[in-house]
């Protein structure tokens, strides 16, 4: 663990101390610190449990954005075999914020699409922090068409703060690209599973997450606007993001109640970043289960039910 969130600072202190003790013991074999270190471990674990049992929506937003969470690339490398990236929108460029291509999961060939944020400064810049431009959405459209043509299921991994608000992106039709991508999601006749692995940021997320089944990780979020953006518009104060996060109902738990998320996958104690392999394995298992379920359905039925699902969303509010 290298990166602690702000609210995890007390935890960082305890875990830091335990780590220090162990380092000292390694340097000096005569020292017996195990008892003390174990006590600190215990204290840390209790604190971790306490922190994560009662997370506020704003803290969840921070966890969803945690740099150490497994990202799209990690999932692809871990869960899929024979990943063959397919690049470009055949029009303007290849958007590196969007990963996509052919791969197998549990032997089944699928088309995979996802936002990749990058894991260090270099890759983050290369990936534009996971914020796609129109080319990214047009690449996704092309890949969804490919999947539809050859009857391959589509898996999308959503993790974006939103579509990129840039001059070129607007000039090349960011809105049109997002609209067409959402339209394509509702057009294809193949099984479509979407997993929100971190941040589901507004239109940039909808364009990939309009699926037969939307799975959300326990600490992932999905919202119409970022809490900061909402706060600056409605509260006229970007510092009111805590209130905004609360009001927006953007947690996976609330979204399941609203019928937007079909399933919430539990994360390890302390969030996905504390057990990356475990988190990824449970996502993989869920995808395979859902694939099996959706494969039973006929192509027309899949599309019909997907459209009906979206027509019905929201009819009951939080009582759904």
């Amino acid at each position: 663990m290298n990166n602690y969130l702000e609210f995890e600072k007390p935890l960082a202190e305890i875990e830091g101390k335990a780590e220090e003790l162990r380092a000292m013991a390694r340097a000096n074999e005569e020292m017996d610190i195990e008892k003390e270190a174990a006590a600190l471990d215990k204290k840390a674990e209790a604190l971790l449990k306490e922190l994560y049992e009662n997370l506020t929506p704003w803290r969840k937003c921070q966890i969803a954005r945690h740099p150490d969470r497994p990202h799209c690339k990690d999932y692809i490398e871990t869960l899929f075999t024979e990943y063959t990236p397919l690049a470009g929108d055949r029009n303007f460029a290849d958007d590196h914020a969007v990963m996509g291509g052919l791969a197998r999961i549990g032997g089944t060939p699928v088309v995979i699409i996802g936002h990749e944020k990058g894991h260090n400064t270099k890759t983050r810049i290369e990936r534009n922090f996971g914020m796609a431009r129109p080319e990214g959405y047009r690449k996704a459209i092309r890949l969804m068409e490919l999947a539809d043509k050859f009857g391959l299921p589509i898996i999308s991994l959503v993790d974006t703060a939103g579509a990129y608000p840039g001059k070129g992106a607007e000039e090349r039709g960011q809105s049109e690209a997002i609209a067409r991508s959402t339209e394509k999601c509702l057009q294809v006749k193949v099984p479509f599973i979407s997993v929100i692995i971190g941040e589901g940021g507004s239109g940039g997320a909808v364009a990939f997450a309009t699926a037969d089944r939307v799975v959300m990780l326990e600490h992932s979020t999905y919202a119409v606007i970022s809490p900061e953006g909402c706060a600056s518009i409605l509260w006229k104060d970007a510092e009111k993001m805590r209130e905004a996060a609360e009001a927006l109902r953007l947690t996976a738990q609330d979204l399941e109640k609203l019928g937007v998320a079909d399933r919430v996958l539990p994360e390890p104690l302390g969030g996905a970043q504390r057990d990356r392999a475990g988190t990824m394995a449970s996502v993989g298992k869920e995808i395979e289960t859902l694939l099996k379920e959706l494969k039973q359905k006929k192509p027309d039925q899949l599309r019909k039910e997907r459209r009906q699902k979206y027509l019905d969303i929201g009819a009951k509010g939080l009582a759904a």
């Binding site: 579509a163 608000p165 840039g166 001059k167 992106a169 607007e170 000039e171 090349r172 039709g173 960011q174 809105s175 049109e176 997002i178 609209a179 067409r180 959402t182 339209e183 999601c185 509702l186 057009q187 507004s202 239109g203 909808v206 364009a207 309009t210 999905y222 919202a223 119409v224 606007i225 909402c230 518009i233 409605l234 509260w235 209130e243 905004a244 009001a247 927006l248 109902r249 953007l250 979204l255 609203l258 937007v260 459209r307 979206y310 027509l311 969303i313 929201g314 009819a315 009951k316 509010g317 939080l318």
Partner: protein, 306 residues
Amino acid sequence: MNWISNYVRPTINSLFSRREVPDNLWSKCKECGTMLFHRELTENLNVCTSCDHHMAMTPRERFANLFDGGIFSEISVPTPIADPLTFKDQKKYPDRMKTAQKTTGEAEAMLVAKGDMGRTPVVAAAQDFSFMGGSMGMYVGNAIIAAAQEAVKTKRPLILFSAAGGARMQEGILSLMQMPRTTVAVQMLKEAGLPYIVVLTHPTTGGVTASYAMLGDVHIAEPNALICFAGPRVIAQTIGEKLPEGFQRAEYLLDHGMLDRVTHRKNMREELITVTRMLLGLSPAIKGDLPAPVEKAKKPKPDPEK
């Protein structure tokens, strides 16, 4: 809060203000500052007579000018669950709604109607920017679905006038879900082979642009309308540089291939009739003023266009 401030002062004020020109007789053009006489402005379709600035128009004003003889029948929209998230920012969402309903006299931010346009039966939907910035929530989604269903049922084209600041934040994720919902509505029209024409008016932004407003068979915009996904302020902040003149305005989008046409409001109706009739394979419309449709004109009405 006493007798003087509550009663005496308003009474004195109202006595004095009566001698002044009532507000609603004159309005000022935001673009050029010219004072415009109300009747003249209405006759000119809320377009400034001096600088051609296209001012906002309510859905009812639009429909009065779109349909033959100004006659249309409203299509009812299923009312969604009120305040689904019990949302509260500085104000409660239901309070904001009440204020908007009071000031506009409308139930919500979209009006759907059917009628004849140049003797061509159509369904039309218009977004109301004066109602909470035209924002797209459950109701607007329901309105577009109702419009599409009516169009499919009666085999009519759908003409949609968009105007919105984007999604309605007070409905959280459910407002975002109107992007796929309205897309399904557009797909109903497309699969029925019916024309779907979008008229983009000032402003059309955010999730609205990124869904039904950009999925039309034909995109026509009003001059100088702001049309974008992310607003100019957000972009200027992100890239930290000044944006070019006219950025994200209708003419700019036309240049960048996102629109079919930019059309002055006074020509809009004729153009919609022409395009719709060609797409439907109908004969050219009869030019000039048209009487109200026969079957609906039970009581003879004077032609408002004369």
